[in-house]
């Protein structure tokens, strides 16, 4: 919303942070208002307010991290910040679209900004590779999305979500095959964006190559945005049409859970590990999309919240550790338990939260997802999800084992106030919402 490009470099981040805080407040102000702008292009309802609030909050935390992350690269700070703000703009559009063109615009705004940011370490080959790979594959997905939208427009005669819903309800018996084709293409594109299998191949490479801060941003904000949009799409249009979308999603959920968790077992790079962990979390979230008939938006919100908090906490520790050890492997954490017990304890909490062990929000989120999925009758998928969360424990614990079990390396960790702030805010909120879930779970 505010792409403030100001020449006073030192003030950019504080101003952005304050600006975001103001927007956060303004956004909450729209609660229960249900406004629609530009011929239903943008609709502000409670769903978009809640997810928008989460997205802004995550961006705020990432910006707080960015002052230290870009401490040596002041020259381009304004560019980075403005591009990151565009990501947020795209995300906000993706929560509040009322029209498929708006969805497409949102996704493109978000993605193009991210293509740039993924490749923003210009002299690093891996970063370039990440940006380029993400761009190529992302463009394909965008093509799919656009083609799907076009086909749906062809059959229904409208981009408007409500009109599409009306069409599916009125013509339940004779929906045109073109509509299904369009639907499948759109589902594929969305599965790509949420990095669900079998469209997940970009995620590990891009996460690994991109600068750590951008990885943190991608693995939280982009996931929230993509799932918000996906959920809205599915609950508004496709679910009343047929079992076909369910079948695709069911297969995708099972594949995502299996691949995400099994591949994570073999990883030695922390960012890749989190990439696969993100894929497996996409699997759990796909379960929510599957049970969209129960209106589990609260569960979706709660889970993305818990996941983002734990992931950001993990990155708030990982980034300074990477910086001091000059390595991004899991062995960068070796012996952290002896050198810096407080940080190691915090990292353990983040990992336990991601693994879904009580009392953190991750557990409650999983529990709710499983109840919803079982209620919708996805018996085997839930069973697989439960087993994959068991596998998940193993690889999250690899980090804990490295911290406490391996001999320490000699690097000293420089930990600045900003990292500490984000870290403890995230952990405290994760614990808080883990203990008092009901306000968030029943938010809608």
């Amino acid at each position: 919303m505010l792409a403030e490009i100001i020449n006073l470099r030192k003030l950019i981040v504080p101003i952005l942070v304050i600006g975001l805080a103001v927007i956060f407040g303004l956004n909450l102000n729209d609660w229960n208002l249900n406004l629609a702008y530009y011929n239903n292009m943008l609709k502000v309802d409670n769903f978009s307010v809640a997810f928008g609030g989460l997205a802004i909050f995550v961006t705020l935390l990432v910006f707080i991290l960015s002052t230290d992350f870009y401490a040596k690269d002041q020259e381009h700070l304004s560019d980075y910040m403005s591009i990151l703000t565009f990501v947020l703009v795209g995300a906000l559009m993706m929560f509040s679209y009322g029209n498929l063109t708006m969805l497409f615009l949102g996704i493109e705004t978000l993605s193009i900004a991210l293509y740039i940011m993924a490749g923003s370490k210009r002299f690093d080959v891996r970063s370039n590779e990440a940006g380029f790979k993400y761009f190529l594959m992302g463009s394909f997905a965008s093509c799919f999305l656009l083609f799907g939208i076009a086909l749906i427009y062809g059959t229904t005669g409208s981009f408007d979500l409500n009109k599409i819903t009306d069409y599916t309800i009125q013509n339940q018996q004779n929906i045109s095959p073109l509509f299904y084709t369009g639907m499948v293409l759109m589902v594929f594109a969305m599965l790509f964006k949420v990095s669900a299998a079998p469209f997940h191949f970009w995620a590990p490479d891009v996460y690994e190559g991109a600068p750590a801060l951008i990885t943190a941003y991608m693995s939280t904000l982009v996931k929230i945005a993509a799932f918000g949009a996906f959920y809205k799409l599915m609950s508004a249009t496709f679910f009343y049409t047929s079992w076909k979308a369910e079948l695709i999603l069911n297969v995708a959920a099972i594949l995502t859970l299996a691949i995400g968790n099994l591949m994570a077992l073999a990883q030695t790079n922390f960012k890749r590990l989190l990439a696969y962990s993100g894929i497996s979390h996409a699997g759990y979230l796909t379960l929510i999309i599957l049970s969209a008939k129960n209106q589990p938006a609260g569960a979706l919100f709660y889970y993305t919240l818990g996941y983002s908090l734990s992931t950001l906490a993990a990155f708030a520790i990982a980034i300074p550790v990477f910086k001091s050890t000059k390595s991004e492997g899991i062995d960068a954490f070796n012996g952290l338990g002896k050198k810096n017990p407080v940080l190691a304890a915090a990292m353990s909490m983040a990992m336990i939260g991601l693994a879904g062990i009580p009392p953190f929000a991750g557990f409650m989120g999983k529990y709710y997802i499983f109840t919803e999925a079982l209620q919708s009758g996805y018996f085997y998928t839930t069973l697989i999800a439960i087993f994959s969360s068991m596998i998940g424990v193993y690889y999250y614990f690899k980090v804990i084992l490295a911290m406490y079990g391996k001999p320490a390396n000699e690097f000293q960790i420089e930990n600045t106030l900003n990292y500490q702030l984000v870290l403890w805010v995230c952990l405290a909120l994760s614990l808080f919402f883990g203990l008092y879930p009901s306000p968030i779970l029943n938010i809608f």
Partner: protein
């Protein structure tokens, strides 16, 4: 509110301990566990077997999914709480003449463990119970991992994954009960009121049974146990064997028998057969063991096998015997592992063959070790006898032949325990062992307390039986 206080004291103490250093942490931990013990004694004094309103705490936690925070206590819970809070001071006291690295974290984890264990025993909502069940796993994992012996990385990870796998199966079971129950509630009272929730109990049984069987452990789910007991620091082993495995047997009584009665009936014979097979199998392996801690670990499998067999016999004497024996076994096994630790600490030798003639240099230790061993081989007038007798009687009522095989535990138990004692304490003196200081004050205190408990409960078990009878009758109904 008393139930909340029981949870609050150890939790607050565990957080407070993180800010202390050195010997102070240990002293504070002891003080807090003693306060907790006092509170438990008070709870026992005000407890009335017919109604437990004084301990009731019920608040809604979340509307959708519907979850209540429900703490309460009946006789069985109270017995388990007594066991936990009685053993904790002893466990902490037993560490007094040992040097522990970073004691503030160590004792903080132990107190956190106490918090979680108390929570498991007083939760009456399935979801809350599950959370405490999981919470209990985290501190013990870190205790075993950070202060453990050789191979700790692999052993403790295996332990963690193994038990967590079981817990997740149980979680799946709870999800099913939640969806199947008419009010969508996991409250214990509503679950036992509608035991046939429309679910297929015959495989729901296995979801719960495997989770508990891993924790107890019942053969063939026991493979994590000997390694973990050996690797964990002694105080961790005491927690694991003395209290944590009682979580499993307690849960059989609380969450399996009354909630899934049809499933239990269907698989009762198989469950008893597994338990009895475990008794014989573990006893035979124990006879062959030369490592002191492993021997005790296998003997523990044999004892809890009998406990679970008595539970699955589903009659009043089996259930009561199991409760008596849970208390007795908790006390005895802590004593046994403590004695093993004393021996290992002074001889640096874990192998039975390398130790001998300790009696000559440490007569007091020899005496109290004998008392503990007698309790554990179920000599009449010791606590082990009461429990095992009732358990065997319970199994006998179910099936004579199974009782005969289960009875082997007493004979085989006497074989491996007494042989070990003979070799280690009485046997031919080995020169390297002759520098064996007799008991220190804290060791004396722990072992004498355990010894007194062994005889008191053996001679006068009536309070336990009175405490638990009404609950067991409702469960069996």
């Amino acid at each position: 509110m008393l139930s909340l206080t029981l949870l609050f004291i150890p939790l607050a103490a565990s957080l407070l301990l993180l800010f202390t250093r050195g010997g102070l942490s240990r002293n504070l931990a002891l003080v807090f566990t003693l306060v907790q013990l006092g509170l438990t004694a008070y709870a026992y004094s005000v407890f009335k077997t017919d109604g437990a309103t004084a301990f009731e705490f019920l608040r809604n936690w979340s509307v959708k999914p519907f979850i209540n925070v429900h703490f309460s206590m009946d006789g069985v819970s109270l017995l388990m709480v007594i066991l936990t809070n009685l053993l904790l001071p002893l466990i902490i006291l037993s560490g007094y003449n040992r040097e522990t690295e970073r004691p503030h974290v160590f004792y903080s984890l132990i107190l956190f463990m106490q918090f979680a264990l108390n929570g498991v025993f007083i939760s009456f909502d399935g979801f809350i119970y599950y959370i405490f069940w999981e919470l209990a796993l985290i501190p013990i994992y870190f205790i075993a991992f950070n202060w453990g012996g050789e191979n700790r990385t692999q052993v403790t990870l295996k332990f963690f994954i193994y038990t967590l796998a079981g817990s997740l199966l149980m979680l799946f079971g709870f999800l099913f009960l939640y969806n199947g129950s008419p009010q969508h509630s996991l409250d214990w009272a509503s679950l036992i009121a509608n035991p046939s929730c429309g679910c297929n109990q015959s495989w729901l049984f296995w979801l719960f049974f495997i989770a508990f069987a891993i924790k107890i452990p019942i053969v063939p789910f026991h493979t994590w146990q000997p390694d973990t007991y050996k690797t964990a620091p002694t105080q961790g082993t005491m927690l694991l064997s003395g209290i944590m495995l009682k979580m499993g047997t307690y849960s059989l009584i609380r969450w399996l028998l009354p909630v899934l009665p049809e499933g239990v009936k269907e698989w009762q014979s198989l469950a008893i057969a597994l338990s009895v097979a475990g008794i014989v199998y573990a006893s035979i392996i124990a006879i062959m063991q030369r490592d002191l801690k492993r021997l005790l670990a296998y003997s523990s499998i044999a004892h809890v096998g009998l406990i679970s067999a008595g539970i699955f016999a589903m009659n009043i004497s089996g259930l009561q015997g199991s409760l008596v024996q849970m208390l007795a076994h908790g006390i005895n096994v802590v004593g046994l592992f403590f004695c093993a630790d004393i021996i290992f600490n002074r001889t640096q030798n874990a192998n039975v063959e390398g130790i001998g003639g300790i009696r000559l240099v440490a007569p007091k230790f020899a005496t109290w070790f004998m008392v503990v061993i007698l309790g554990s081989v179920a000599l009449p007038l010791t606590n082990g006898f009461v429990g095992e007798f009732m358990l065997l009687f319970g199994v006998y009522q179910y099936n004579t032949w199974l009782a005969v095989f289960a009875g082997l535990t007493i004979i085989l138990g006497a074989v491996y325990m007494l042989r070990m004692y003979q070799k280690v304490v009485l046997g031919k003196p080995i020169m390297e062992n002759m520098v064996f200081p007799d008991l220190f004050w804290n060791e004396k205190l722990v072992l004498i307390t355990i010894g007194i408990l062994i005889f008191v409960l053996g001679i006068f078990p009536k309070p336990i039986l009175e405490l638990t009878e009404p609950v067991l009758k409702t469960i069996l109904k």
